[in-house]
């Protein structure tokens, strides 16, 4: 696995496979380079556009912002948990999938340890992953005692289910 800098990541260190060995590193670099080479077919599609003319342009739809009282115009949120409208499930590249045949219903493990509260406990006591919000961190797969959660690449899972995260 290639450890890349993300936003907020420790600066300047790419490719230090933490204990995973040279072979894995080489294979991943191969993948990355082939993907880059595959982009060559699209070379030239993105180019600088024409400047917007100052003679003929669409006028901005300026408005005189009306005064609104503070009960409307303060940065306050008057409803609980509006964050559920943000579909963080779109972040996933890997999807955790529960094999209910092997699930032991020890929901106090997976449901507690999902950092995002994205594993519900159903009425029948089984865990259910909220794929609208699951970020694919795979902590659940790592901690499941009977190893009943597998990680499946998201684009494959989406094909199977015919819908993916949304």
């Amino acid at each position: 696995m290639v450890v890349l800098d993300g936003v907020g990541g420790v600066a300047g260190r790419v490719g230090i496979g933490v204990g995973l060995g040279e072979a894995a590193l080489a294979a991943n670099l191969d993948e990355a380079f082939s993907a880059f080479d595959a982009m060559a077919a699209h070379e030239g599609v993105v180019h600088e556009g024409a400047a917007i003319s100052a003679r003929a342009y669409e006028a901005p739809d300026w408005t005189d912002l009306p005064f609104e009282p503070a009960r409307v115009a303060a940065p306050d949120i008057f409803a609980p948990a509006t964050s559920v409208q943000v579909r963080t499930g779109l972040w996933r590249t890997m999807r955790p999938v529960i094999d209910y045949a092997h699930c032991h219903r020890c929901v106090w493990v997976c449901s507690t340890l999902c950092p995002d509260s994205a594993i519900h406990v159903r009425a029948d006591g089984a865990p259910e992953i909220d794929y609208e919000h699951c970020k694919g961190c795979l902590v659940c797969a790592a901690v499941c005692p009977p190893h009943a959660i597998q990680a499946v690449p998201e684009h494959e899972a989406a094909k199977i289910e015919g819908g993916g995260a949304g």
Binding site: L65, F67, P69, A73, D76, F78
Partner: protein, 414 residues
């Protein structure tokens, strides 16, 4: 009628007491400390109900003030100078919470070098923050404007915190006769605080003061705060009328003294302006048609009222008791912007004086008036002037001589 001899600080404390404030987060600093000492004594004796909490810094004090206001109680606090500056992150942060409260600033010159007596650099540094600000010239005005400030701040069209400013030393420690209104009359004028929908309670969860990323929604919230500040002028008109009905005293965005038929007008804020009024009287006796325009409210800025008051005057001298380093007088610059393009605009000149409590004696007012009228007659504008005399410079040289005592002896002429 209950008429007492009160210092400016005592008048501020009485304003808070009459307003029946719930909560006073406090921190001491010269020259406002007497305010919180007075309030602490009243809370301890049960003459006020509620609570005074000593915070550990002004930054925390302003945070606690706004947080308590956002929870739903009436809040009062006070500071000066370095303390106001220490709070500055929160002075800029909390107006956007749209939770109202009153902060009394007892103005004092800023470091460096550090000093104790008054000027207006501290309070003027808050002018971009979203706090409203009003400047008092008498101890009566201090008490009155604490009450007015609560009415305006808490009005649903405003909902912004307000700074009530009084000059340190010249007003804070000066005793003047003050009418203390009766409690019932104040309660009629200023009903209990209605937090409206900005409050914390378990039955109505709310996330307040949340982050707004992206320029367009951020701009909406910032523009609306500005529009609300501007609303305060029309709200003031209504409330000033109610104040007059309740207490018989008139107030408004400007105070004017003999300015209607004046040729030469001094523009000054705060207690120093009373000296300008005295000088105007003496100038009138000497045949010079002098007057004074004293803005009370600087935020919102009363541009229309100032234009009306100064239109057609021959000469206007703005006496700034403040100094923006590298630019000049803050009030002068804002007034120039307000008058720009006005057809019958006066000759407008900038005078800087009164820094750190430096006295402006009558002779300086007379000389300013004479020079201004001379320039105006010639169709010229004088360059900005920093008020300082040869005698003052000699005094400084003596101090400098002492500061290098191994090279010069005391008493040697510079």
């Amino acid at each position: 009628m209950n008429r007492q001899l009160l210092t400016g600080n005592a008048a501020a404390a009485w304003g808070a007491r009459l307003a029946q404030v719930d909560y006073v987060p406090a921190f001491p600093i010269t020259p406002q400390t007497e305010i919180i000492e007075t309030l602490a004594r009243w809370f301890e004796r049960g003459e006020m109900t509620g609570r005074l909490t000593m915070l550990e810094s002004e930054h925390s004090m302003v945070t606690a003030a706004a947080a308590a206001a956002a929870t739903g109680v009436r809040v009062f606090t006070a500071t000066s100078s370095q303390g106001l500056l220490y709070a500055m992150e929160m002075v800029f942060t909390v107006p956007g919470w749209r939770a109202p409260f009153v902060l009394v600033n007892v103005s004092r010159g800023l470091a460096s070098p550090i000093t104790l007596e008054s000027d207006h650099n501290d309070v003027l540094a808050t002018r971009d923050s979203g706090f409203l600000q009003v400047h008092c010239a008498t101890c009566q005005e201090v008490l009155d404007h604490v009450l007015l400030a609560y009415r305006i701040a808490e009005d649903s069209r405003v909902r912004l915190p307000v700074i009530v400013n009084l000059d340190g030393f010249t007003l804070s420690f000066t005793r003047e006769p003050v009418d203390l209104p009766a409690t019932e009359a104040v309660q009629q004028f200023l009903p209990p605080f209605d937090p409206q929908n900005v409050r914390f309670r378990a039955s109505k969860p709310v996330s307040q003061a949340v982050a707004v990323l992206a320029g367009s929604p951020y701009s909406y919230f910032r523009y609306e705060t500005h529009l609300a500040a501007q609303q305060a002028l029309s709200v003031l008109d209504e409330i000033a009328e109610q104040f007059f009905q309740a207490f018989g005293r008139r107030t408004g965005p400007l105070a004017t003294y003999r300015s209607e038929d004046a040729d030469m007008v001094f523009v000054m804020i705060g207690a120093g302006a009373t000296k300008a009024c005295e000088a105007a009287d003496r100038l009138r006796e000497a045949g010079v048609a002098a007057g004074v325009v004293r803005p009370r409210w600087l935020r919102p800025y009363p541009a229309a009222a100032l234009r009306a008051a100064l239109a057609g005057k021959k000469a206007v001298a703005v006496i700034d008791q403040d100094l923006s380093m590298g630019q000049g007088g803050v009030l002068h610059a804002e007034l120039a912007a307000a008058l720009y393009g006005m057809p019958n605009a006066p000759m407008l000149a900038s005078i800087i004086g009164g820094l750190g409590g430096r006295n402006i004696p009558p002779e300086e007012f007379y000389e300013i008036a004479k020079r201004m009228l001379g320039f105006a007659a010639r169709g010229e504008t004088p360059p900005p002037q920093l008020l300082f005399t040869e005698r003052e410079l000699r005094q400084v040289r003596k101090l400098q001589a002492i500061a290098v005592v191994e090279r010069k002896e005391l008493g040697e002429k510079p």
